[in-house]
């Protein structure tokens, strides 16, 4: 200990003098940090454990994920977090030793219809009956049996699990009965009505062929032992499960054409990229060309990523494609793509030129250089400040050993900081990570991220899964200063027992004196995670909404009156009015 009594005395007296001077001045408090990690404070205590066997098994560097979903239909978002296990040769795909499997946390923000001032999470895993004890990599959410209760699909290294929500707080493993298994290493899945029959199908992005019994040994450039890269393992085809509508799925991987190509799928989004009304599927492949499966109808697909311009980046380089954000960031009526990548590569922004033709505008958008030192995973278009423009968040964490951290003796030397890119308009972004608060200064090994309004206060929060680190709940403290509206787009397809979120619905917020804002209701995208299906729209300085147009997944459109601001409103399919028929083209007036 260093003793400096004299200096201490001087400092105290000096401080008192300063205080006296400044008390007379008007005090402006420092602006609050936009994001604060409230996971521990709100009871979300969880650590994703990779197993860390020391063998550097490949699954240990790529998991895990989280779901934000309202399993008890009480109006707030609950949480499911997948968990790793300790992998051991000869013990099958996963051997639970230390960890207790994936965990379900109930959000008690709203209890018996009464809203509390802040969320509180309660671990209800045991009561729920969920035993997700495989090596958890990711999770998808959707109401697969149209009973009005959201089900869970847990993606594992090894067999996956479909957990049916019984509607009473409990879940039942129906994987086998439903024919929903996929024994390969699966990271992400998209729940989407691909054949527009009213039932959610499943597209599962499978990663690589890996066997813990025959581990591959790899080294960093320094010659230290390190995790292998994806090219050390053969790619594997993805899986497409068609929902028969009777509680079972049909494996259509071959018939649909998607099994014809093997990839290293990390992220997946099902959405209509070419504007033909049918949901296509974009798969982010690690270290190889992406897939864009164009939906040809009747659940047949054609892979068109290369001619569409989204297989590789603008330089023609194959990249390590990980997480996906799909959204109409320029509000021009089509969906654009942002994909996170390995350090040394840029994250990539593919702008939809219309009709499903894309152009890489990463550099022009200012998104290239800032992402070079980082490896991105979870990501989304989020309007964190509700200014009406969608920003980008990238959750970072390396997959290649960071030697400086290893030299310091860090047992898991892959930590990086997360990034926020503010949409400043005109197709340009500025990195604002340093202004985002402590969660953006702390280095960790970020992986999956789920996005949603966890405290229902009208701004987007983020749940981050860090490998070998605590889950982070990044609560947005500033977004709701701007006006906003929230929409839950639900429907009751024929044969359904209850209303469910209409994943894939597109919404257009028509404003007075400002361009319309276009958003998509979905849980897919990001990385290994499922996000809030509700649509949260920041209105910035143009809050006067004249109408809301919804295009439902079946292709029908409806118009709804302006919903109240600063509140969530449920829009039920079939209760809006038909849109006005398009006006005949006006004769061109002569130019002056």
């Amino acid at each position: 200990m260093i003793h400096m009594p004299m200096c201490e005395a001087h400092r105290l007296r000096f401080s008192a003098l300063l205080a006296g001077v400044f008390l007379a001045l008007p005090v402006r408090p420092a602006p609050p940090a936009p994001f604060v990690d409230r996971a521990a404070e709100w009871g979300l205590t969880f650590r994703y454990d990779t197993g860390s066997t020391g063998q550097l098994y490949y699954p240990e560097i790529v998991g895990g994920g989280a779901a934000l979903f309202d399993y008890d239909n009480d109006g707030d978002l609950d949480v499911f977090l997948v968990q790793g296990t300790v992998l051991e040769p000869g013990k099958g795909a996963a051997h639970p030793i230390a960890s207790a499997g994936g965990r379900l946390f109930r959000n008690d923000l709203i209890v018996n219809g009464v809203r509390h001032d802040k969320p509180h999470f309660v671990d209800v895993t045991e009561a729920s009956g969920i035993k997700a004890s495989g090596y958890g990599m990711g999770v998808a959410a959707g109401d697969f049996d149209n009973d009005g209760w959201v089900d869970l699909y847990v993606l594992n290294f090894g067999s996956n699990q479909l957990w049916h929500n019984n509607g009473d707080g409990t879940f039942t493993d129906v994987t086998r009965a439903a024919g929903a298994d996929d024994p390969r290493m699966s990271l992400s899945a998209a729940a989407a009505d691909l054949d527009r029959d009213g039932w959610l199908d499943l597209y599962i992005a499978d990663y690589v062929e890996f066997s813990i019994d025959h581990n591959v040994v790899c080294y960093a450039q320094s010659s230290r032992r390190d995790f292998c890269g994806p090219s050390s393992f053969p790619p594997t085809p993805d899986k497409l499960l068609r929902n028969r509508g009777n509680g079972t799925f049909e494996d259509l991987s071959q018939k649909s054409g998607i099994a014809a190509k093997a990839g290293r799928g990390m992220g997946v989004v099902a959405a209509d990229f070419d504007g033909d009304g049918l949901p296509d599927v974009f798969v982010a492949n690690d270290g190889m060309e992406n897939f864009l499966w164009k939906n040809r109808g009747n659940l047949t697909f054609e892979e068109v990523a290369l001619p569409a311009g989204v297989a590789v980046n603008a330089d023609g380089k194959v990249q390590a494609n990980m997480g996906i954000a799909a959204g109409d960031y320029d509000d021009d009526g089509d969906l654009d793509l942002f994909v996170t990548h390995l350090d040394g590569e840029t994250n990539t922004l593919w702008v939809n030129l219309g009709g499903g033709q894309f152009e890489d505008r990463t550099l022009q958008a200012g998104l290239g250089a800032p992402s070079l030192p980082f490896t991105g995973f979870g990501t989304a278009w989020i309007d964190y400040d509700n200014d009406g423009r969608q920003d980008l968040l990238a959750v970072d964490g390396a997959v290649r050993l960071i030697d400086a951290q290893a030299q310091r003796g860090d047992p898991f030397p892959y930590a990086q900081t997360h990034q926020m890119f503010h949409n400043v308009g005109g197709g340009r972004f500025t990195e604002v990570s340093r202004e985002m608060g402590e969660p953006f200064q702390r280095a960790e090994v970020g992986r999956g991220a789920a996005f949603g309004d966890i405290d229902n206060d009208g701004d987007m929060d983020v749940l981050i899964v860090a490998a070998n680190g605590p889950a982070r709940l990044l609560v947005n403290e500033v977004g709701n200063r701007n006006p906003w509206l929230g929409l839950r787009l639900v429907g009751k397809p024929p044969g359904a027992k209850g209303e469910r979120d209409m994943l894939g619905a597109l919404v257009e917020i028509v404003r007075k004196g400002a361009p319309a804002l276009r958003r998509r209701a979905a849980t897919d995208g990001s990385y290994a995670s499922a996000s809030d299906p509700r649509v949260l729209v920041g209105l910035g300085d143009a809050p006067e909404v004249t109408e809301v147009r919804v295009t439902w997944p079946d292709g029908k459109s409806e118009v709804f009156p302006p919903p109240p601001l600063r509140a969530y409103t449920k829009l039920l399919e079939g209760t809006g009015r038909a849109p006005a028929p398009p006006e005949p083209p006006k004769k061109a007036s002569p130019q002056p």
């Binding site: 062929e209 023609g316 550099l363 030697d403 030299q407």
Partner: protein, 509 residues
């Protein structure tokens, strides 16, 4: 506490030594490969001894710079940076150190600092073309397109043969959506570096922008992953410093992938000579020897690999495949069975085992293996065809047809499966399954895609089944024209078939 004192204490705490200003923290070499650790330790020792005495600044700068390059070679970024900065401080007129520092910083994504380092190097050596190209590349990455173009133009003026500068100018033109300029630049770059097939992708984008879809498609079809590597002697020098088994294996792999088999074999041999237990080195040496035509030596290496590592599935697979190529031996079967047992998800291994079983007269077992291969990799047309052929051998013709139909549904572009189905529909021993008209459609499609004697012969069979013996004879003659290299017995059988066609109806096989 003062930063320097804190740093010194920290370094003592982690067992490292720091010298220089900025201080170079010697990294822990224990986790590195022995050969690498020794190489770095020797350079560190040299620096330590020079730093302790009254060494002339240029000599000390060289010691720092050389150690920096060594650290750089092994991606030990922090000490490498400190070394380069010391070298540059001690020998400020030498452009090598700021240039190398720029490369290091650029590799780490620290573009602004890298740009400053290259600018510093250019002050010392105005015509440092690699530095100009790198500054241009950095400016482009930062969205400063105009500056990027000015720098790249300057590089091109200094070295008109710089295909990297030309290609980057093509990319900046694409960034600006000046597609005509992009085409001009990229065509020039491609002419200068015809092997750089990634340029085809850029050209496809440029032509797409111009609305020339056909040209875009042509270039897209030729696009690959070989880029234009900017010439930079400093990076070559740094790369050359890397040593050890792991780097030799990596270099050998690169040589192999680029078809430089003799070089690859020499590297693998050096690995195996230094460390005879290197299974990876031995397996890869065997693969390289196969490419060099020395299969016997390859088999010997694989046997030795398995003697040292009896469970290695890759060695089993490779040895089984090599032996199977000589004929369906029990030993080949044994090794492939070991490979599939070790890697039950390996579709290729299951298919290879199936082929050995089928050719060895075990069609039922072969069928099971083919089915596994197809289930694991539905895109494997060879496995699908093998499965159907085995079913034919088992006289389960209806199932064979079903499998081929399923295969074609899954892989509609598959020439192998189209041909297989055409053949079955034209000449199936179970006549009830034949369909001459469809066989003819399929056979002609295959012939159009790939006009080979085998495909012509199938077209002849299909025509015969469809009842057009004259057309069958014409196709059979076409087949015979290209059959010169086939065994005499096969040619004779084809001639006999021609005679049958020439006799006229009925001429079905």
């Amino acid at each position: 506490m003062k930063p320097a004192l804190f740093l010194a204490l920290l370094l003592v705490a982690v067992g490292a030594i720091a010298i220089g200003d900025p201080p170079v923290a010697f990294p822990d070499l224990a986790p590195l490969e022995k050969e690498v650790g020794e190489q770095i330790a020797a350079a560190q020792e040299k620096l330590t001894s020079l730093a302790g005495g009254e060494t002339p600044a240029p000599d000390l700068a060289a010691a720092y710079g050389n150690l920096g390059m060594l650290y750089h070679a092994y991606s030990l970024g922090q000490p490498a940076e400190a070394c380069y900065r010391n070298a540059a401080r001690l020998q400020p007129a030498d452009p090598r150190w700021p240039h190398a520092l720029g490369v290091l910083l650029q590799d780490g994504g620290r573009l602004e600092e890298a740009d400053a380092a290259f600018a510093w190097a250019l002050q010392l050596q105005e015509k440092d073309v690699p530095a100009l190209v790198r500054r241009g590349e950095i400016a482009r990455l930062q969205g400063r397109t105009d500056e990027a173009e000015a720098l790249l133009q300057k590089a091109l003026a200094a070295d008109p043969s710089s295909s990297a500068a030309q290609a980057l100018l093509g990319q900046t033109a694409l960034d600006r959506r000046d597609f005509a300029a992009a085409v001009r630049r990229l065509e020039a770059a491609l002419a200068a570096a015809p092997g750089a097939n990634r340029l085809h992708y850029l050209l496809a984008q440029a032509y797409r922008g111009q609305g020339e879809a056909a040209k875009a498609g042509e270039h897209l079809a030729q696009a690959g992953q070989v880029g234009v590597k900017p010439a930079d002697p400093s990076t070559d020098e740094i790369e050359a410093l890397r040593t050890g088994e792991r780097i030799r294996l990596a270099r050998a792999k690169t040589a192999y992938q680029n078809g430089r088999y003799a070089e690859a074999a020499a590297l693998y041999r050096s690995v195996v000579a230094d460390r005879p237990e290197s299974t990876e080195g031995r397996i890869n040496l065997a693969a390289t020897l196969v490419q060099l035509g020395d299969r016997a030596a390859a088999v010997a290496e694989l046997r030795e690999a398995l003697r040292r590592a009896p469970a290695n599935p890759t060695a089993h697979f490779n040895l089984g495949t090599l032996l199977a190529a000589e004929g369906p031996s029990a030993e080949a079967r044994e090794h492939l069975a070991a490979a599939t047992a070790a890697l039950p998800q390996d579709a290729e291994a299951h298919r290879a085992l199936a082929e050995v079983l089928r050719n060895g007269g075990h069609p039922e077992e072969a069928l099971a293996e083919y089915s596994r291969a197809v289930a694991l990799d539905p895109g494997d047309e060879r496995a699908r065809l093998g499965e159907a052929e085995t079913l034919v051998r088992l006289e389960r013709y209806g199932t064979a047809r079903e499998r081929l139909e399923e295969g074609l549904k899954a892989l509609p572009q598959s020439g192998l499966l189209t041909h297989g189905l055409a053949r079955l529909l034209a000449a199936c021993p179970d006549h009830s399954l034949r369909d001459g008209a469809r066989a003819r459609t399929l056979a002609l499609a295959v012939w159009q895609a790939q006009p080979t004697p085998g495909h012509a012969e199938t077209a002849a069979l299909a025509q015969a089944e469809a009842g057009d013996c004259a057309a069958a004879a014409r196709w059979q003659r076409t087949a015979l024209e290209g059959a010169g290299s086939l065994p005499q017995t096969t040619v004779q059988a084809m001639q006999d078939r021609l005679a049958a066609y020439e006799k006229g109806a009925p001429c079905q096989p």
